[in-house]
Amino acid sequence: MIITFIKLAWRNMFRNKRRTLIAGIAIGLGLASLIFVDALIIGMKINMVHSATASFLGEGQIHRKGFRDTHEVELTIADREKVISNLKQETIVERFTERVMSFGMITSPANVNSVTMFGIDPETEPYLSQIDEAIIEGDYFKGANKQNIVIGSKLAELLEVSLGDRVVLTVAQAHTGELSQELFRVSGIYYFNIREMDRGMAFIRLPKAQQMLALNSNIHEIAVKFTDTKFSQNKDLPFWDKYSQNGNEAAGWTTLVPQLEAALKFSDFGIFIVGIILFGVVSLGIVNTLFMSLHERMFEFGVLRAIGTRPFAMGRLVVFEAGALAIISIILGIIIGYIVTAIFSKVGIDYSGIELAGVTFKELLYPVMEIRQFILFPVIVFILTLVVGLYPAAYAARISPAKAMRTAA
């Protein structure tokens, strides 16, 4: 009997092909939108995390405890050699680089500006940041000149300097607070399209920075890149505890840029809201289609009841019709969703320059397709369709045969 009802429901869906197709496309578009939005948000998350970590931050960092809050020059990493030695043994660490940093002043013949000076290792830094890729004029620490400095395009504009021009960098030394000044020659200008980086950062070689700050071989920061980005998001990773000893602290980007993690959580909530709205629209479409179909066949429903179909069976027939509509819609939705998402995952969407949660998108945003989107969402649409179908099903079950035939006649 069930098979006959399924057969009946399936064939009924094709009695008004145009209406079924339109309803199927409408519901399918809802599903396709959900697949696309989910893929887009995954792509956005990856892009945001990449933009935040790959520019300069790194996926994780090690500092002396308190340094992140105070930036005191004296707070250098304890047991540097041991930490470096251990990091080299870590299987989950792909690369790391050492840095020193200090606030200072940069002066040109035309102007003066506050700056964050970074001492970096030009050999290892490119694996952790994209300064080398962002160079728009000059080069990235070519040769061995210790007096080379790489600055941002906005800073160059403020200081009214160009390649080869001289600038003076002034910082306060560790422990004594004595001012230390050095003359540098602008050897490279970068453009990140991130205001803080383009205007407020200057890069010199690590040994020179250590010398200026009187740090000997000590450093303030180790930026780490893991073999898999998932490690950096795992707050329970033993790595953090292991390197948060002897007065040091290790933290991933989720701790270093908490607003980014909050933004990612918000985007999860966003997909939930989008899902609710889309499913709401889809639900109304289903109810409308089923009721239209039901009213169109009122006499037939009356006849079915008259010849002995039980009320429950009438309701079941409508639920099966809802299921048939769901299957048609899901097939259409998967096809549309796959095509649209596949196209955009190849060509990308240009969000570059847009800032969200302190992170500026630098690259094209590529939606990411996952098998989950093509299983979970269709299953939800199918179940939802059956649940929503209960309303017209209950109506069909309550149809009085005589009234139905009288009304339709």
């Binding site: 009997m1 009946l8 009320p311």
Partner: protein, 234 residues
């Protein structure tokens, strides 16, 4: 006495039906007493609005009575739940409607076996009965056709087959020839009369059709919701 009671297939006592038409009560059936016995070939006739179809709905349990009592095969319809009524109609009454009312997406065979599916008969039993009834209504070879591939007369014969295949004791037919030409209608009526005589099923028609009136062995005339005459002919 018991034999006589057992022969009473339809018993209506003081049956009334009042509808509300936009708040105005309309008495469609105003008090009908009637007994129809097994094997009768009865026509209920009367002008439009006389209450024929309403009365047919009341004696089949499609519509509840406002007053009075209807018993079919000795069972009081108003005492049954919706589900019991469905099962009772399925097992005891065959319906033939004016507009054929076959399920358009089911084939002739599927339409005919629908009620047997509801009854839970085996596939083999259903198939055998469908073959037999199709032969009786002269539609052999049409089992796999959809209703829209049949003529009006053929569709109505399928409707007759569907009504009779489950071996109900009563066939209720509401204007079964209204959409047929006179030749096809006459053939259909002759076929039903023949089935009535060979199977002993009770046939009750609601009709305007003179051909049915001519063939009916009992003619009940309704007027303004009441029986105005009840004539049994030999």
């Amino acid at each position: 006495m018991n034999d006589e009671v057992n022969q009473e297939v339809i018993v209506a006592r003081g049956v009334k039906r009042t509808y509300s038409d936009n708040g105005v009560p309309v008495e469609a059936v105003r008090g009908i007493d009637l007994i129809i016995t097994r094997g009768e070939f009865t026509a209920i006739v009367g002008p439009s609005g006389s209450g024929k179809t309403t009365f047919l709905n009341l004696i089949s349990g499609l519509d509840p009575v406002s007053e009075g009592e209807v018993r079919l095969n000795g069972k009081k319809l108003s005492a049954m739940s919706g589900r019991e009524l469905s099962d009772f109609r399925r097992d005891n009454i065959g319906f033939i409607f004016q507009a054929y009312n076959l399920i358009p997406v089911l084939t002739v065979e599927e339409n005919i076996e629908y009620i047997m599916l509801l009854q839970g008969l085996s596939r083999q039993e259903r198939h055998q009965r469908v073959e037999k009834i199709l032969a009786e209504v002269k539609l052999e070879g049409y089992a796999d056709r959809l209703p829209n591939k049949l003529s009006g007369g053929q569709r109505q014969r399928v409707a007759v087959a569907r009504a009779m295949v489950s071996h109900p004791s009563i066939i209720l037919a509401d204007e079964p020839t209204a959409n047929l030409d006179s030749k096809t209608g006459a053939e259909l009526l002759d076929m039903m009369r023949n089935l009535n005589q060979t199977t002993g099923m009770t046939f009750v028609f609601s009709t305007h059709d003179e051909m049915i009136m001519e063939r009916a062995e009992r003619l009940i005339v309704l007027k303004d919701g009441l029986i105005s005459s009840d004539e049994t002919r030999q």
